[in-house]
């Protein structure tokens, strides 16, 4: 088990009142599993990741975490423009004070393994959107987290890049044997990437359906070609009430 939500609720407080973002949420992400959480825009999906990462504590309920650290990947690549690609990748090492030569070497090996060798000394501004998102992923992986929390990491990309980066990220995460919790509002993305899709209601978010995805040999490309893809898409669409 990597992370388990048990009856978790969370409310935001503002002077004008309180907003229940998630309500009585229960689900589990196993080690090595890729879980996608989908729901309508603004249903509190990002809150789920903040809760999972421990950045905020639930108002009620319990969150259990397995061993291993968490790494965040956000909607925009959030690369620091004043740092080179290499320095960006080292950022989590510096923050977590794991800035040892060995950790740096590991991070660089990872970067080279996934085709960033020629870009290390460049500035992020010189990279394409897809390449920047790959740098963001390697940066997330650099500190050696076991679980990745992905907050609509492809939503800022144009459609073509998005498909490519989507497959790319899936590939790298599977190869590195990481656990992933993805939140997205894109049904097809969720089906293509994950081992399990969890559908949420609009705010306050509750689980309205859980679907294991087993077809297509775990490859996003093959999955999109499968007949089951359309069937699951329809089922999810109905659950989400779109």
């Amino acid at each position: 088990m990597s992370v388990r939500f048990a009856g978790v609720s969370y409310a935001y407080h503002t002077p004008s009142g309180e907003t229940l973002a998630v309500k009585d949420l229960t689900f589990e992400v196993d080690d090595g599993q890729f879980v996608a959480v989908i729901g309508p825009s603004g249903c509190g999906k990002s809150t789920i990741l903040s809760l999972a990462a421990g950045l905020i504590s639930p108002s009620s309920g319990k969150i259990e975490r397995g061993d291993g650290q968490f790494g965040y990947m956000l909607q925009t690549d959030a690369l620091f423009p004043w740092r080179t690609v290499e320095q960006n990748i080292f950022l989590p090492l510096e923050i977590k004070r794991k800035n040892t030569p060995e950790m740096k070497r590991n991070a660089l090996m990872l970067a080279e393994k996934y085709g960033l060798a020629g870009f290390l000394k460049k500035s992020p501004a010189q990279l394409s959107g897809g390449m920047r998102q790959r740098v963001a992923l390697i940066r997330t992986l650099a500190a050696g987290p076991q679980t990745l929390l992905l907050d609509e990491p492809f939503s800022a990309l144009d459609y073509q890049t998005r498909l490519a980066v989507c497959d790319d990220v899936h590939d790298i995460i599977k190869k590195e044997k990481k656990t992933a919790l993805l939140v997205t509002h894109d049904i097809s993305e969720a089906i293509a990437l994950s081992d399990k899709v969890i559908a949420l209601s609009s705010r306050p978010a509750r689980v309205v359906g859980e679907h294991p995805v087993t077809f297509g040999e775990g490859s996003p490309k093959k999955r999109r070609e499968c007949g089951e893809f359309a069937a699951l898409f329809e089922a999810l669409r109905k659950e989400l009430g779109i």
């Binding site: 990462a53 950045l55 956000l74 959030a78 004043w82 923050i95 500190a143």
Partner: protein, 270 residues
């Protein structure tokens, strides 16, 4: 880095020529305006259209500068005003930046001090002149204090705005990595707000000159502001104009230095 392509098409060569010519025109017209203004002024003073006793003239101001230089007091006065301005500027920027960091670190402290900063910003600092003389004496400290007073608030407010404008996603990213306040500040807030800092320097340079000359108006025994006040009191308009010319050059020069530093910093960031 983009490689410079030296193989242009004829169209591109024309474009380059056109931009270059545009730049030359701007510089030429600028110089022409200055020359025309000085020339007209000189002419009017020479031919008696203006009374040079009241308006002075470029040649008389130049002669005054030469006389001051010959008497050996020119660089003394320049040095004093320059030292006061640079000291006040440096203190205001350093102190203002530190205050902004403190206010950023603690939201409640910021809320507490906000009205004080607003009032201090709105207050015409010259109103504090008598107090400053009584508290700080009539030496350089009073003038430097005035300089700091005039420029520090803008430094604080500019930097606070700079910190507030830092991308929230990047802040969330650092927090998710477990960054504390110190790491947040050094890894993200300070580098990200560098353009705001350079902007602050530019504004503070101008304000520092206002502060130091204002300070010298209130209380001084030397400096360019002193020369201007003294010249005005004894009706030596040549001295007033001479000091004002030098002030223009110095203020412009200091701004140019900051602008050059900005360009280097921005370039290095890529």
């Amino acid at each position: 880095m983009k490689h410079k392509n030296t193989n242009y098409s004829a169209d591109h060569a024309r474009y380059l020529k056109r931009t270059k010519r545009g730049k030359i025109v701007v510089h030429a017209v600028r110089a022409l305006i200055l020359a025309a203004l000085l020339g007209m002024w000189e002419l009017c003073a020479q031919t008696g259209v203006f009374d040079p006793f009241i308006t002075s003239s470029p040649s008389r101001a130049a002669k005054t500068i030469a006389d001051l230089a010959a008497a050996g007091t020119l660089f003394y006065h320049i040095g004093i005003t320059l030292a006061e301005t640079v000291a006040g500027f440096a203190i205001a920027v350093a102190l203002g930046y530190s205050c902004a960091v403190l206010l950023w670190l603690n939201e409640r402290v910021r809320a507490i001090f906000e009205p004080y900063i607003v009032v201090l910003n709105a207050l015409p600092k010259i109103a504090l002149g008598p107090l400053i003389i009584i508290w700080m004496g009539t030496g350089y400290t009073a003038i430097i204090f005035m300089t700091v007073l005039v420029s520090i608030i803008v430094c604080i407010m500019n930097m606070l705005a700079g910190f507030a404008a830092v991308d929230k996603t990047k802040q969330l990213l650092l927090r998710s990595m477990g960054a504390g306040r110190a790491a947040m500040l050094t890894k993200l807030m300070m580098p990200a707000s560098l353009p705001a800092f350079m902007n602050t320097l530019k504004v503070a340079v101008g304000l520092a000159w206002i502060g130091s000359i204002m300070g010298e108006y209130i209380v001084s025994r030397a400096g360019l502001g002193y020369l201007i006040v003294y010249g005005g009191q004894v009706f030596k308009l040549d001295l007033v104009m001479a000091a004002t010319f030098i002030l223009c050059l110095l203020a412009g020069g200091m701004y140019a230095i900051v602008a050059i530093i900005e360009r280097i910093v921005v370039k290095r960031r890529g």
